[in-house]
Amino acid sequence: MMRAASILALVALTSTAMAQDSTIPFPEPLPTPDFELPEATSHTLSNGLEVRIVENHEVPLWGARLVIRGGTGLDPMDKAGLASVAVDMMDDGAGDLSSSDISRRVKRLGSSLSTSAGLDSSTVSAGGILRNMDETLGIMAKVVTQPTFPEDEWSILQSRRVANANAKLEDPDTVGREAFYKQLYAGTYQGSVTTAETYGAISLDDMKAFHAAQFRPDNALLLVGGDIDPATALPILEKHFGSWTVDGEATVIAAPEPAMVEESVMYFIDKPGAAQSVIRLGGFIGTRMDDDYYDLHIGNAAFGGAFTARVNMNLREDKGYTYGARCRAWYPEGPGVWFCSTSVRTDATGASLDEIKMEITDVLGDRPIDTDEVAYNVSSEVNGFPGQYETVSTVLSEHADIWIHGLPSDWQGRYLPGVQAVTVDSANAALAARLVPEHIVWTVVGDREAVYSDLEAFGLPIIELDRQGNPIQGN
């Protein structure tokens, strides 16, 4: 066998190599094993609720997610946080069960139950030891369909959210991230930032209305995975979710259409005494359905997405300004967002900004992504692909993503061909089309006394913001 022979040869070489202190060569790979994407089966309950099931029999666990379209992106500006608290409250009382009942029962079953609101979708999740799946799904179904929104629980949650909204103003990472999106989206929905006031404005009726409008079987997808099969799982799902019906029709949620930034601006937020400056910059890009999606993906991997990408190699491994610097693309409903973020030593703030700007200028100009960089990052993506599908959880997440955003059903299958088709020219063309310096918003959170002169030297117009991302008067 070829491989065995080469191993023996290497062993012989290695022994002498060690003695002579010459080199041990990089090894050849073993044969590549076959890989098939784990499949989900599609089903529909008697009430029309769509179901996807993914089997995995490695451990006696199961997990389910009920995903609905609609999340914090639907929040009115003056009630930012509404979807988040509405969904949070759903396991604080449902049907005949109180908050404590739900918690006690779920725990007693060796199960977990949680709720969360994202930007475009909201989720109720449950899971645990297989033997108690049926009973746990019964509790989950109550949480999904019959939340009671008790006033005393809201009083506790509201106080906590108000305190959190105030507390986050002391955390530079959060302040920087929220200011960035607030300025980028400039008054459209994702820019809405939760505050003590917005939480104060939310009522129980608001939450009930959100639940009634969004949690409907015709606006939901039930994903179930684990040590199960459709034949045994479907009757249980039908028992708990099949009779869930509501009146009317689901609202179609319109994608936002925020405007591009016309002129690049530096937004600055003072954090006296900060040990580092938190830098974030970026702008709008296209969607995942655009022709250059995979080209931008590889172009960005080479520019700033990977540990070995230009930005991190420069700022961290060469200059030592930071613990890490990365750029990535994010695709909510509407246009995607490309951004870079890093935290840098305070006295290296100006130098870091200059290096980032130089990397952008260079990649768009004299030093475009080269053949090796494209080949390297395509190889990384292609080789790493099977590992992405190791757990049921990630497989379910991908199916949820496809459903929420209306991606084509063969979305997963498009990935490898899409990435492998990227060329040097297409990667650079995507970067040139999407990374337009005039459209980039910059934010820095840092110690004014130490960094302001650096910001002035950087050359962009500076607008100072308060910690909630609002322009400070007089600027």
């Binding site: 065995a4 191993i7 062993v11 041990i24 060569p25 990089f26 090894p27 790979p29 073993l30 590549t32 094993p33 490695e58 451990v59 049907g95 005949d96 069960l97 109180s98 908050s99 404590s100 918690s103 006690r104 029962r105 725990k107 007693r108 079953l109 060796g110 199960s111 030891i129 009973e135 005393d152 629980e153 506790i156 106080s159 906590r160 305190a163 002391e170 900060a274 040990a275 580092q276 938190v278 540990f307 070995t308 190699m313 961290r316 491994e317 030592g320 300004y321 930071t322 613990y323 935290s343 030593r345 190889s379 990384s380 993506e381 080789n383 790493g384 099977p386 590992g387 190791e390 959880s393």
Partner: protein, 465 residues
């Protein structure tokens, strides 16, 4: 029914909770009890002539392989003046070795690997998850830095990574509010010079003082094959893996067996309190008690007790402090296990205008009640146990989870297959055991760290630190 008993007990303790849904009682819960089948991870363990422990755990579910090397050295082994050194060294392990000069990430990321290293009090580990066909590359890379790091380590790399680590310190511990709370808590809970009295991140001064000679001495002392364990988990052929391990790790010479820093079991002798005023938004408090180390008597019992105290919205501390008295915004209790002895930590944030002193008083009342008139119930403990059981299985869902679990068991218990015995500890601890552990370890002296907004620092004498 035990659930009702529990409710009544709680009612006696904290007053009757306002019923939120005035309907007939909910249907009784139907629980399927466990049949005591213990999870296990099939593995094969052997030792190379140079002392390297090798543990193979094949799992062909996904075409990936996870390699994980644990060096049995952590921040606890650092000498005074060298705090943060084990972690700084971990960074230098990614700066290239004689036969793979350049960034450690570069050849591995090219084949789609997930790569990292972590440093804790007790150990330093390095891992890569690679597509199955690239097992030779992962073993080549790991072996080369075990055998040939120093040939290419130079001052520039040290200077650069020293800066990176100092930035990591700023980013993770200095810039976020409360970022250095644990540093202070461990300083308070362990006596000066104790292996756990300083955090793995170390101090700026010690990091600045690190020089190339000390780095090389550290490597020669600790990074020898006889002080490491290599786990390979995932989709591989055992004979192929053994041949590759022999090929790449076999030639590395055995070193002198390093003697780890250790410490006699330590117990906090008397209550200590520190009040800090800082640029923070809320009043928080951390209470820490001396408790038994990993897998020692009482360790699992305290895990179970932590679940009774703060696991979920029906837990004792949440019910009393957050829901009923509303003195806390959040409350958490957990056994933070380490090899030489653990801390049981109770951490809370005061709600509204309440003080951390009120919060602590409420915690003490709950503890007194749980250790006295209303001990943990069978029902509460069954729930806690079931959750730990699910957690064990959950850790086996990924190949990396299996690999980490095996190496952790090997290092702390000497038996990579300790999982069944570990879970048995949770199954066998009964209510009396849990109560006894609580009474022994939580009705004892503790340290209390209060961190409060600067604006609170008025009319207090000698409080500020």
């Amino acid at each position: 029914m035990s659930r009702t008993l529990c409710l009544m007990a709680l009612t006696a303790l904290i007053g009757c909770p306002k019923p939120t849904v005035p309907t007939e009682p909910a249907a009784p819960l139907e629980v399927v009890e466990p049949e005591m089948t213990l999870p296990e991870i099939p593995f094969e363990q052997y030792t190379l002539d140079n002392g390297l422990t090798v543990i193979l755990a094949p799992d062909h579910s996904t075409p990936i392989v996870y390699t994980n090397v644990w060096y049995h050295v952590g921040s606890r082994d650092e000498e005074p003046g060298l705090t943060g050194f084990a972690h700084l060294f971990e960074h230098l392990m990614f700066q290239g070795s004689a036969n793979a000069p350049g960034e450690y990430f570069t050849p591995l990321q090219e084949v789609g690997a997930t790569i990292n290293g972590t440093t804790s009090f007790d150990r330093t580990n390095y891992y890569e998850e690679v597509p199955a066909q690239h097992l030779p590359l992962a073993l080549f890379m790991e072996s080369d830095r075990m055998g040939h790091l120093l040939e290419v380590l130079d001052q520039d790399k040290l200077d650069n990574q020293r800066e990176v680590v100092r930035n990591e310190r700023r980013q993770r511990y200095e810039n976020p509010p409360y970022g250095e709370a644990y540093k202070k808590l461990y300083e308070m809970a362990f006596p000066e010079g104790h292996p756990y009295a300083h955090m793995p991140i170390g101090s700026h001064a010690d990091l600045e003082a690190a020089n190339l000679d000390t780095v090389k001495d550290f490597f020669r002392k600790w990074y020898v094959p006889n002080n490491a364990s290599l786990v390979i988990a995932g989709d591989f052929d055992t004979e192929t893996a053994k041949a590759l391990v022999d090929q790449y790790f076999g030639p590395i010479p055995r070193g002198e067996a390093p003697v780890r820093r250790t410490a006699e079991p330590f117990t906090i002798a008397e209550n200590m309190e520190v009040r800090q005023y800082d640029d923070v938004p809320e009043r928080k408090v951390w209470l820490a008690y001396s408790t038994p180390g990993f897998y020692q008597d009482g360790d699992a019992e305290l895990d179970l007790l932590s679940s009774v105290l703060s696991g979920g919205k029906d837990s004792r501390l949440y019910t009393a402090l957050v829901k009923e008295q509303q003195v806390a915004k959040d409350i958490a209790a957990y056994q933070s296990s380490l090899g030489l002895g653990s801390l049981f930590v109770i951490q809370g944030t005061a709600a509204g205008d309440h003080t951390t002193d009120e919060l602590v008083a409420a915690v003490d009342a709950v503890l007194a009640d749980v250790m006295g008139e209303n001990p943990p119930t069978v029902d509460e403990l069954d729930g806690a146990r079931a959750n730990f059981e699910a957690g064990f299985y959950s850790g086996l869902q990924t190949i990396s989870g299996k690999g980490d679990t095996i190496n952790r068991y090997f290092m702390y218990s000497g038996d990579p297959g300790y999982m069944g015995a570990d879970l048995t500890r949770y199954f066998e601890a009964d209510a009396a055991d849990v109560l006894a552990s609580g009474q022994q370890f939580l009705m004892a002296p503790r340290v209390a760290l209060h961190i409060m907004p600067t604006a609170d620092n008025v009319d207090e004498e000698g409080g500020a630190q």
